[in-house]
Amino acid sequence: MAEILAGLSAVLAWQVLGFLAIGVCLGAVFGALPGLTATMGVALLTPLTFWVSPEQGLAMLLGIYCGTIPSGGIPAILINVPGTPASIAASWDGYALTRKGQAGLALGINALASTTGQLTSIAFLAFLAFPIASFALRFGPAEYFGLTLLGVSLMAGVSGGHVLKGVLAGTLGLALALVGLDPMTAYPRYTFGMSEFLDGISFVPVMIGLFGLGEVLVQISDRQSAQVSAAAAIGRVLPRIADAKRMARATFSGAAVGTMVGAIPAAGGDIGAVIAWEQARRTSSDGDSFGKGSLSGLAASCSACNAAIGGGMTTMLTLGIPGDAVSAILIGALLIHGIQPGPLLFANNQAFVFSIVFLMIFASLLIMVIGILGAKPLAKVLSIPAPWLWAGIIVFGTVGAYALNNAVTDVWAMYAAGVAGFLFRKTQIPLGPLVLGLILGPLMESNLRRALILSRGDWSAMLTRPILLVFLAATLLSLLWPLVRARRGRAKRSQDTVPDA
């Protein structure tokens, strides 16, 4: 108890809270601009924190982290361009709601569910840090392969009824993920002799192109704009109590999934959100509405991608190993300030751990207030005349694609992905599976090959690992579920249009 109070009092100084607020606001801007990710925000601002005290510097970096992810959902909802990879799943239901004229409600749910996810994961960090960390450490190559296999099996779920086309897109995503240095032998694959391709296809520019530029091209070719058809409606921001009650289960189970996935090193909010969305879809009594503007679907994905923050921080603080790219940079920042993350931190400096907990709670509440108050003004984006909005998306997309690695190749990749996104939409090939393949492909391939190195090439030896078996069972369930549902006679063959995945 004394440590909790000491931790609280260390952060209750106006300078610390001021830097936290600056961080949250900067994070909100970074998140809302596609191409500027949480990783980049934290990396860019880490050197700035050398000039302030450790508490102030940490407050700013945590503020950026907690601010970026929720605000990444804003462009995903309003213009179908995820601000960060973590918000890909949020665009599936979020943008569908905007097209129904409920942009305000979608933004409100994003703000509320994001903060719920963050607070839940912070509670896990404060009270269950060590059990979660030891679970994360049990993830060896075989377990990672199981997790990614489950992820890939969700392709059918995000295909919106066009399963064959979904598998086609997913396979294309997995194939694109092969480009670059072979993860095991470092031999260049499909690089056509260009050193720019050695590190593979950059994911963020492709994401901006597929979703952002692709959507713009579709709207231009249809000569109609989403906001006209939706009558530029914003609607109410806060959900009705009855709606909130119905979303509660999806929100909290999303938070639990997000925390666990976030705690596993190298798996972050993007994967967590997709798995949580699919889990919510499968357990929902109204699964068919997912991807077409389901409030529960949006809540689950927003909550999960934010809960991954607390999960990642848990692994970082307890084990001193990064849970994701952002916490890898945070470790460096802490070391420079003379703070050593790891088991000893919890033993010797609990007050500091609670300082972090309180900073994250404050940041999380602040971004919720910003998100709710900002919903109506932000949704005004939709009343910008369509040509201006399209031009703006193209400009920001180009800048964002370049800014990520300062590479012109990424800009071309973004344009190429934009054209591909346009053609996919026109032929009703869903984009969700392609993105899943691209995210999960490298993790899946390298870990399968590592697992086989460890088992000396023996596939059956992998089946002795309990966590892997759970994932394999879940994968089978996810593949067989549609058959089960059809037998129960609940399935109404939905031949509706593809969701804008």
Binding site: A43, A186, L319, L335, P343
Partner: protein, 276 residues
């Protein structure tokens, strides 16, 4: 990180702000090629890690230390061999004896094929006659995590990367691959002491495009020298487990060329070692 800290320390002496731009890709090959193509006015310089002496041998880019104007070297980092604290190997000798006894039974995680730490593992195999099963990861952090989680038996990574885990008791360091002991891990023996003179350290310096005027190089070297001598730099190196080490223009050029020759001559042998 080295660049950003050095830049902030050297800025005051140059009276111009230094803008750091991050160009990742292909072991640094993309960044080396980018800087080498810029005008040689001294306003674009790059951070030269050990990889500048390696990428040509790996075939990632046709560039090496002799194709650029080297300015100075500011730090060095030795590799260390680590195992899980619950493993039966208490010393380097135990470990090597076990690796020789059961060829390929010890799983050695590395930070990626062709990375500097992977070369050190190959040098270790070559120098001791031990043979491991290699498990490649994308970077030192996941390789170390796999040892901490006991998915692999051992790893080689920078002293600075392992020191925090060694202090926390989640990894045990068996040897530092260097001639002299590492300041932050003085209790750990070196390979040279143990009778195996092996080890290729990572290092950090700065360079500009070829043909930079000598006075520009001298001016930058002076600014970095002044920055090098600050207590902040010493502190930064100590925190990250690096050795603050300065070499001027000529010494750095000689050192880098010698390193390039070393990798050029060793890489083909080491590759054969792995694929007999």
């Amino acid at each position: 990180m080295v660049s950003r800290v050095m830049a902030s320390l050297a800025e005051g002496h140059l009276n111009v702000p230094i803008v750091c731009e991050y160009k990742p890709g292909a072991s640094g090959a993309l960044a080396f090629s980018f800087v080498a193509r810029r005008p040689s006015d001294g306003y674009t310089i790059g951070h030269a890690p050990v990889e500048i002496a390696i990428v040509r041998s790996l075939g990632y880019a046709d560039i090496g230390p002799s194709d650029v104007s080297l300015i100075c070297l500011v730090s060095k980092t030795a590799p260390a061999l680590v195992v899980h604290p619950d493993s039966p190997w208490q010393s380097f000798e135990d470990f090597i004896a076990a690796a020789k006894a059961e060829t390929g039974n010890i799983v050695m995680a590395n930070s990626g094929i062709g990375s500097i730490w992977h070369f050190n593992i190959l040098l270790l195999e070559q120098g001791t006659g031990a043979r491991f099963t290699h498990l490649p990861y994308g970077g030192s952090a996941p390789a170390l995590v796999s040892v901490i989680g006991r998915h692999s038996d051992a790893a080689v990574a920078a002293v600075g990367e392992v020191i925090s885990h060694v202090r926390a008791g989640s990894l045990r360091a068996l040897a530092v691959f260097d001639a002299g002991r590492a300041g932050v891990m003085a209790e750990v023996p070196t390979t040279h002491e143990l009778g195996y003179p092996i080890g290729a350290p990572a290092w950090s310096g700065f360079y500009g495009p070829a043909g930079m005027p000598a006075e520009r190089v001298a001016m930058l070297a002076d600014a970095f020298k002044t920055a090098f001598e600050t207590t902040e730099w010493a502190e930064f190196c100590r925190e990250l487990g690096m050795e603050a080490h300065y070499l001027g223009k000529e010494d750095f050029a000689a050192f880098a060329l010698e390193q390039q020759r070393f990798f050029e001559s060793r890489i083909p042998q080491l590759v054969r070692l792995e694929n007999p």
